[in-house]
């Protein structure tokens, strides 16, 4: 099992998948610190 506690996480989302703010909420609930968020959109 991975451990994100104390990790610096880059959240790279995509509009047609999971957006970055959702990734951020998830990893922060696991004890990580988010240092970058980006949601790509190819439309």
């Amino acid at each position: 099992m991975i451990d994100l506690k104390g990790k610096l996480v880059l959240c790279l989302g995509e509009r047609d998948g999971i957006a970055a703010p959702a990734l951020q909420a998830c990893v922060e609930s696991a004890g990580a610190e988010v240092i970058y968020t980006e949601t790509q959109c190819f439309v």
Partner: protein
């Protein structure tokens, strides 16, 4: 991953603490997931962006992987990922990432 995003990530990694950095992806399919993972681990495979020839070696995970879901607060996961878990092919995405590890 576009050129601006590659440049942003390159700057972040150069600023230090690379050993603590992890990428969490939310791409919708195995191909896009694998492409971003390759870029963050081995460098830009298209040789078009700032990460061309720069193997960052960052650990890369996808939010739909079982090993990731297990460590996320279930209520948060349900609220944030929710129905997309059933729309997207998490097993195929996990397989694509495993192939590159």
């Amino acid at each position: 991953m576009d050129l601006e995003e590659q440049a942003n990530i390159a700057r972040l990694v150069e600023s230090g603490q690379k050993d603590r950095m992890v990428a969490m992806l939310g791409m919708p399919n195995p191909a896009s997931t694998r492409m971003v993972a390759m870029t963050l681990q081995e460098g830009d495979p298209s040789y078009a962006g700032p990460l061309a020839g720069i193997p960052l070696g960052l650990p890369v995970y996808h939010i739909l992987e079982d090993q990731v879901r297990q460590i996320i607060d279930p209520a948060v996961y349900e609220n944030e990922v929710g129905p997309m878990e059933f729309v997207l092919d998490g097993a195929a995405i996990s397989k694509a990432l495993d192939a590159g590890r």
